[in-house]
């Protein structure tokens, strides 16, 4: 039975329908998947045996002769999965490209003559592959146009490197301008930017929370949030994914019982959630989280890596999508890599918070500041989204993304695939389950000139491998139709249309623009 949750203002907190579905794995498929992994494991052991006895040629790199008697650097079983499962389908990942990662991309053709142990580049380029894998939500990955020209100007004027930290000699006037713009975009008092999105989390969570504090982290949080929480030294408790009852119970227990053993009250409680979870495609239940946070006095850290620019009528992220007040979120964090076509991360919030981070953040003291052309790209793309460059291009992009998302998701569900996540999220995970289908799907799609991302264990639970599509505003309806046609063809070939809830194909209605009219800007 599908876990289909649909609130229609049921709790009075949501002003729009919240449709998320995570259809349960069909029993037969689950059994077959376990069997598949079992067979692969047996073959893995057989292969290792053959390699040990030199019957099969060994491609694995070996330790130096002089260091033979050192303690081995890797345990054999650590790499079992890598050697025997990952290697077989390794060609689905790390595909090199040689053009802009836009809606269509050029891949460097590579072949392997020894079952993926080494790759040879044929020198040819596979051109015009429809890119359903890059995080290019608003289509700002461009090498022409206003943004690229501004970045080019700044490259010639400022150069590419900075060679100093923010607190020393690396604070350029462009950085200050960008931070003011980010604060304006988010609707917060102040903002600070860092050179790497991953590092934004892993360096700033330790500055905000320490020993004696409690961190409540969602089950499926990103590795950077988990690392930041671990480095902070606080107690970490994990609540079930997007499950508000679990979160409320934990908050209640935490405040009532205090710290373990000593029962001293917690110094502070920090809730870590993400805007869109990139492996599930689900959107955080923000109105409920904020209601809980206010009731219990916890602080909210919202990681909008995938949702900034991609959700909301004005592209301002998940806060905008739900029509909430950005001042309710204590720490608004996000990255510039996905929707802005640049690199780096930011944190926005109240002035005291940002002042504190300017002084105490690890990145401001020890890490080189952002490169000037990247900063310029952020400024121009943000101004475009906000409409400050005098055009409506930004608005159009946001609208196009929303249209593309709804269309694509609807068509995929009609075709009979199991799609996870919220109906408004531009990240569309499609379930494959069986390990062999992971490699097959990736390769078959590439043969038909569509580039997709497939993910398996350990990024996902072992039986829930999936293909993940990232919709972009740069995708035209034709591209999406081509892609859908091909996906349907490959889906029939590989028999991945598992869904037991066939939806009747609805007549092609025009996108309902009134859906956004209720929300005040």
């Amino acid at each position: 039975d599908a876990q289909h949750t649909s609130y229609n203002g049921g709790l009075g907190l949501y002003n729009r329908p919240f449709n998320e579905s995570f259809e349960e794995t069909p029993l037969l498929v689950a059994v077959l998947t376990y069997m598949g992994y079992g067979i692969l494991t047996i073959f893995g052991y057989l292969r290792d045996f053959l390699r040990d006895w030199k019957i099969e040629r060994c491609h694995i790199a070996r330790e130096r002769e002089e260091q033979r008697d050192f303690v081995p650097l890797y345990q054999d079983f650590e790499n079992f999965y890598t050697r025997n499962l990952y290697m077989r389908i390794r060609d689905s990942w790390n595909r090199p490209i040689c053009s802009v990662p836009g809606a269509k991309v050029d891949l460097v053709e590579r072949v392997s003559h020894d079952y993926n142990w080494t790759f040879d580049y044929t020198g040819r380029v596979v051109g015009g592959v429809i890119n359903m894998g890059s995080y290019n939500y608003l289509g700002f990955a461009e090498n022409t146009g206003y943004c690229a020209e501004a970045a080019a100007e700044v490259t010639m004027k400022y150069g590419v490197g900075v060679a100093s930290t923010r607190q020393e000699m690396g604070n350029l006037d462009r950085h200050e301008e960008m931070e003011a713009l980010v604060a304006k975009f988010l609707g917060v008092e102040s903002a600070i930017a860092f050179g790497m999105g991953f590092a934004t989390n892993s360096m700033n969570i330790p500055a905000l929370s320490g020993k004696g504090c409690l961190i409540l982290s969602d089950e499926l949080n990103h590795a950077s949030l988990v690392l930041g929480a671990r480095l902070s030294g606080s107690t970490i408790r994990v609540f079930k994914h997007n499950n508000m009852q679990s979160l409320e119970k934990m908050l209640r227990d935490a405040i009532v019982h205090g710290q373990p053993r000593t029962h001293r009250p917690w110094k502070k409680i920090l809730i870590l959630v993400e805007g869109i979870y990139s492996m599930e495609g689900s959107i955080v239940r923000l109105p409920e989280v904020i209601a809980l946070k206010k009731r219990f006095g916890a602080y909210l850290y919202l990681d909008e890596a995938h949702s900034i620019g991609a959700l909301g009528p004005a592209g301002r992220g998940v806060v905008d999508y739900f029509g909430l007040d950005p001042r309710d979120v204590d720490v608004m964090m996000g990255t510039f890599t996905k929707s802005f076509g640049a690199a780096g991360g930011y944190i926005g919030g109240r002035r005291e918070l940002i002042d504190y981070l300017r002084v105490h953040s690890h990145s401001a003291v020890y890490a080189t500041s952002m490169s000037p052309p990247v900063v310029e790209q952020i400024i121009t793309s943000m101004k475009c989204i906000m409409g400050e460059d005098g055009t409506t291009l930004g608005r159009e992009r946001v609208k196009r993304l929303a249209e593309n998302t709804v269309y694509f998701r609807r068509k995929m569900t009609e075709m009979g695939f199991i799609i996870y996540g919220n109906s408004d999220s531009p990240v569309v995970p499609m379930m494959l389950y069986l390990p062999a289908k992971i490699g097959a799907f990736g390769r078959e799609m590439l043969k038909r000139n569509i580039g997709v991302v497939v993910v398996g264990f350990p990024a996902t639970p072992i039986i829930e491998s999936r293909a993940r599509f990232c919709i972009s505003a740069a995708h035209t309806k034709d591209m999406l139709d081509t892609a859908l046609c091909v996906i349907s063809e490959v889906g029939d070939l590989l028999q991945v249309k598992y869904s037991r809830h066939r939806r009747l194909p609805s007549l092609d209605r025009a996108f309902d623009h009134s859906i956004y009219d209720e929300i005040q800007d």
Partner: protein
Amino acid sequence: MAWVEVPGQEKVLKPLLNTVIILGLIKCANFSPQAPAYHLILEGILILWIVRLLFSKTYKLQERSDLTEKEKEDLIEEWQPEPLVPPVSKDHPSMNYDIVSGPPSHNIVVNGKQCINFASFNFLGLLDNERVKQKALASLKKYGVGTCGPRGFYGTFDVHLELEDRLAKFMRTEEAIIYSYGFATIASAIPAYSKRGDIVFVDEAACFSIQKGLQASRSFIKYFKHNDMEDLERLLKEQEIEDQKNPRKARVTRRFVVVEGLYINTADVCPLPALVKLKYKYKVRIFLEESMSFGVLGEHGRGVTEHFGVNIDDIDLISANMENAVASIGGFCCGRSFVIDHQRLSGQGYCFSASLPPMLAAAAIEALNIMEEDPDIFSVLREKCEQVHKALQGTPGMKVLGESYAPALHLQLESSSGSRETDVRMLRRIVDYCLEKQIALTLARYLDKEERFLPPPSIRVVVTVEQTKEDIDRAASCIREAALSILK
């Protein structure tokens, strides 16, 4: 299975109890008088055990005082969290950044004043190089700015592969791997190899990113005194004695030594040949952090291994950032394929983060080209370092910390006033005085509360190839004046 309510039993025992009961019921269902004797005895025991468990004393495994709902609500009402961040005073020394308008090159405009740059780590003067800029521009026109994805998902560009190849060839190793952030390079590399239970010997003066890498790895960390090989040997001998007590554990405990080529905090060089001898004697692996020495030391700029003539294969992993001499952004690790390839799946900063923007990679390739074409640049840099080092000697009230060929020196107070705050304020006044006189310097910045061995406050003086003799003399005399007038 909630129909068995045994009060006070923890969650762990409840399923066990339920399993036992179900097994018992199944057994009862199969009960027939024709069953052999042992069958009856077994079932009898099972029934007796169930009866015992049902009536046994319940053990409370966790102290839970039974609070009423009202009391819980009161506790929730009363709880006051600390503010999210403590307030920061307006005149905190790190609060107000110096603003640089325009490119941070040799002639830099700081807070509106045109100055000569003695503060950016632009050792080879490549920040302003026309060739580098042109290559970056060409790359921008081809690829745009961002990569929109991690390396695994269409974020690998041919430029990245080319840069990795070039770095490996330049350093004469088998393979290299690129990170998009200099700080994250060593901080992701160390936890990829060293896990809980392993032992890492690290120098006291190691930089902050190494400390964060060590913290993330959850290994045992043992600090040895800065550049003191005897202290390291003592620790290694102690470890050897420990190993003999438990040889089985010792066979699986990995050991590493983490050192820097040129230390950023003390500007001196690590004794690499002695370290390599210790490596083979005590079977430890060496991780070398070369951010400050890559592109600086050695005849061709290959770093401290070339400087000492050590075989590069003896070092297990060399990590460096490309933000100093190479004047780009990001970092890389190089070494043998056996070691480096592992990071492609377990380096957190590599797998879970977007890749380096291609224009920055192209700039790094061009910088490497320049370094390879013109190896004289390194001897020029060394000469300038000697000049600066000599010129700064004899500054009243201050001492110069660092080797004569280190391009990033520290100027410390000869005698501290006793409080770090006062020292920092005095040094800041010297820096301000120099800024007035159009020499851009900076205080070396640290996180006071987070550093393990906090270095004393100092002014950072950086030497670049673009500084002329006049610039150096002017800077030296300016610092001398400042020291005289402020540190009476």
